[in-house]
Structure formats: C-alpha cells, structure tokens
C-alpha cells in the first residue's frame, strides 16, 4: 500500500496532537469495510452532542468520500475489470477543530483521473451555494457521465453538504501516480 496515504498536512488537526479526532482510517477500503466503519462513525457522532442534521451531513460526506476511494483509487487489490466487490487504498479522517468538523480523504489517482477531478473541482470551487444546488438538480435529471461509476453526483453532494468551499490538492506521488486530497468543512 502507498505509504504516503497516512501523511497528514493538517498539522493542527493531526491525529497525534488533536483531541477532536472522531475517526481515522487508512488502508484498503471495500464496501464491507465502509459498512463497518460507517456504523462506528454514526455511533461516535450520536454519542457526541452534534445535532442530527449536522450528523447526517458528516455521514453523507464520509460515505461519498469512502465510496470514491473504492471506485477510483489507483492503488487497488482487485482487478481493473472488476466493477463489484472492489478493494482500493486510501484514508479518511474526521476531526473537530475550533468547533468545526473537517473531513479529509486521500488516495492516489491516475494522471487522467487527476485531470478529470481538477476540472470538476475547479468548477465547484467558484460556485455559490445556490449554484451548487442548481447544478445538483440539473445533474440529477441528466444521464450519468460516461466516466462515472455512479450518478455523477458524488462531488456535488460533498460540496452541497459542506458549509464552506471544498478544498483539494493534487500532488505528485513519489510512486508515479497523483496523490489526491479532498477536504470538506462543516
């Protein structure tokens, strides 16, 4: 597995120093692993004083990010031709800092996929809340894009459920691919 997945640039939100850690997982993701850690995330949030609406948004962003790793990480154990029961590597961190939740995911992607992500995320970054909602409504009524394994709504959903603009980084991965980091704030 890619050792750079566990590197954390969010030094103030880092697992080792931060008291606000809700959940952190690095390793291979499959749908079964998502089910199990999804339960842990839900329970952890339910035991905190986080309001129900906010918990639901955090859970939604977590699921979309984790399923993106299963679908699109370039570090995979299962064959490229498999479209079910996939297993691919990445990390997801949910942490609390100064009263806000940060949800950060990281996974390697191919150069082609990095270009696709950059295009979509640059477009999302400059949209207002209303424009994101409008774009979501339009995509819901359109056919899914050819490159998508879902409905082409994943990044729009993350942007819609975040309370500020989503941030991302695409950095050279010493192993040859591109290391993708996505951060949502609530």
């Amino acid at each position: 597995m890619n050792q750079y997945l566990s590197d954390c640039d969010e030094h103030r939100a880092c697992i080792i120093r931060n008291q606000g850690l809700v959940f952190y997982y690095v390793g291979y993701f499959s749908q079964n692993i998502i089910n199990a850690i999804g339960d842990a995330v839900r329970l952890r949030l339910e035991c905190s004083e986080t309001p129900g609406g906010l918990r639901r948004k955090i859970f939604s962003i977590f699921i979309e990010m984790a399923q993106n790793i299963v679908h699109y990480s370039s570090d995979q154990l299962t064959p490229e031709t498999d479209h079910d029961h996939e297993m691919r590597a990445g990390s997801v961190c949910i942490t609390q800092e100064s009263g806000r939740f940060l949800i950060i995911c990281k996974n390697p992607v191919t150069t082609e996929w990095a270009q696709q992500l950059r295009q979509e995320l640059e477009a999302l970054r400059v949209m207002s809340v209303d424009q994101i909602r409008q774009s979501y409504r339009e995509q819901l009524r359109r056919e899914a894009p050819e490159h998508s394994k879902g409905a082409g709504l994943g990044l729009l959903t993350i942007a819609r459920d975040s309370s500020g603009p989503i941030e991302y980084a695409l950095e050279p991965d010493p192993r040859g691919d591109v290391l993708f980091t996505l951060k949502a704030t609530l």
Binding site: G53, R56, I63, D84, A151, T157
Partner: protein, 130 residues
C-alpha cells in the same frame, strides 16, 4: 402478472417489499450499495412492467429511508419518474415520504420530487429517530 418482489434488508441496502398484488410498494432502511445501478436495475425494470399493465388503479408507495447516497438518489428519482408516468396514464399514486424531522436533505429531496411530479399524491411524514 407477477405478484411480489421481496428483497431482505442488508447493512447498505433497503428492505424492498413490492407487493404488486396488493398495490403496495415499500422501501425501508439504508441505501448506499457499492453499485446503486446494479441494485436498483431489476427493481426498476419489474416496477415498470407492473405499472405498464395497470389501468385506473390505486397504488400506495411507502419510502422510509434513513439514508441514501448520491447514486441511490438518482435511482429513487428514476423510480418516482416511473410512478409519475403511471399517474399520467390515469392511475392514482400515493407516495408516503417518511423523513427524520432533523434531516433537511431528506425533506428537501422529497419536496423536490413533489414539485417535479405533481400528479403523484405526495405526503411528507416526519418520523422520530430510534
């Protein structure tokens, strides 16, 4: 005509109880499968076949989902689109949309369906968290 489609719930898929003979279609639980298209394909196909054979009938639909992911949202939209086609063909369709009162996303999506498909009798019903 087939009488019933039943799929038991799993950690990431809903209980599907489409009792075609009783004209009652229920979806309950979670919906975030690895492939929503894969999970919903047959459900949509069989529902379409069932609705296509109806004339001036009454159908009661219950959707009570705790959470659904982005690709399931699309599949639900397609399902309600099928129901709307049946309503326009002269059938009476009632959709009970259960939602957590604290969950804006769920209620907003339900209201969007109600606005998009006005020929369906839409009822938003708040449920308390368990």
């Amino acid at each position: 005509m087939e009488t019933r489609l039943y799929i038991p719930p799993s950690p990431n898929t809903p209980e599907v109880d489409f009792d075609f003979a009783a004209r009652r279609l229920c979806l309950r639980g979670e919906s975030y499968p690895e492939s929503a298209v894969g999970f919903y394909h047959e459900i949509l196909q069989r529902t379409r076949d069932f609705l296509g054979g109806l004339e001036e009938d009454e159908i009661h639909v219950v959707i009570e989902l705790r959470y659904f992911n982005s690709s399931s949202t699309k599949m639900l939209f397609n399902l309600v689109d099928e129901l709307n086609t049946a309503a326009r063909a002269g059938n009476s369709i009632t959709l009970d949309w259960y939602h957590d009162p604290e969950d804006d996303t769920m209620l907003e999506f339900g209201q969007e369906l109600a606005d998009d498909f006005p020929e369906i009798h839409f009822r938003a019903i708040p449920v308390e968290n368990t």
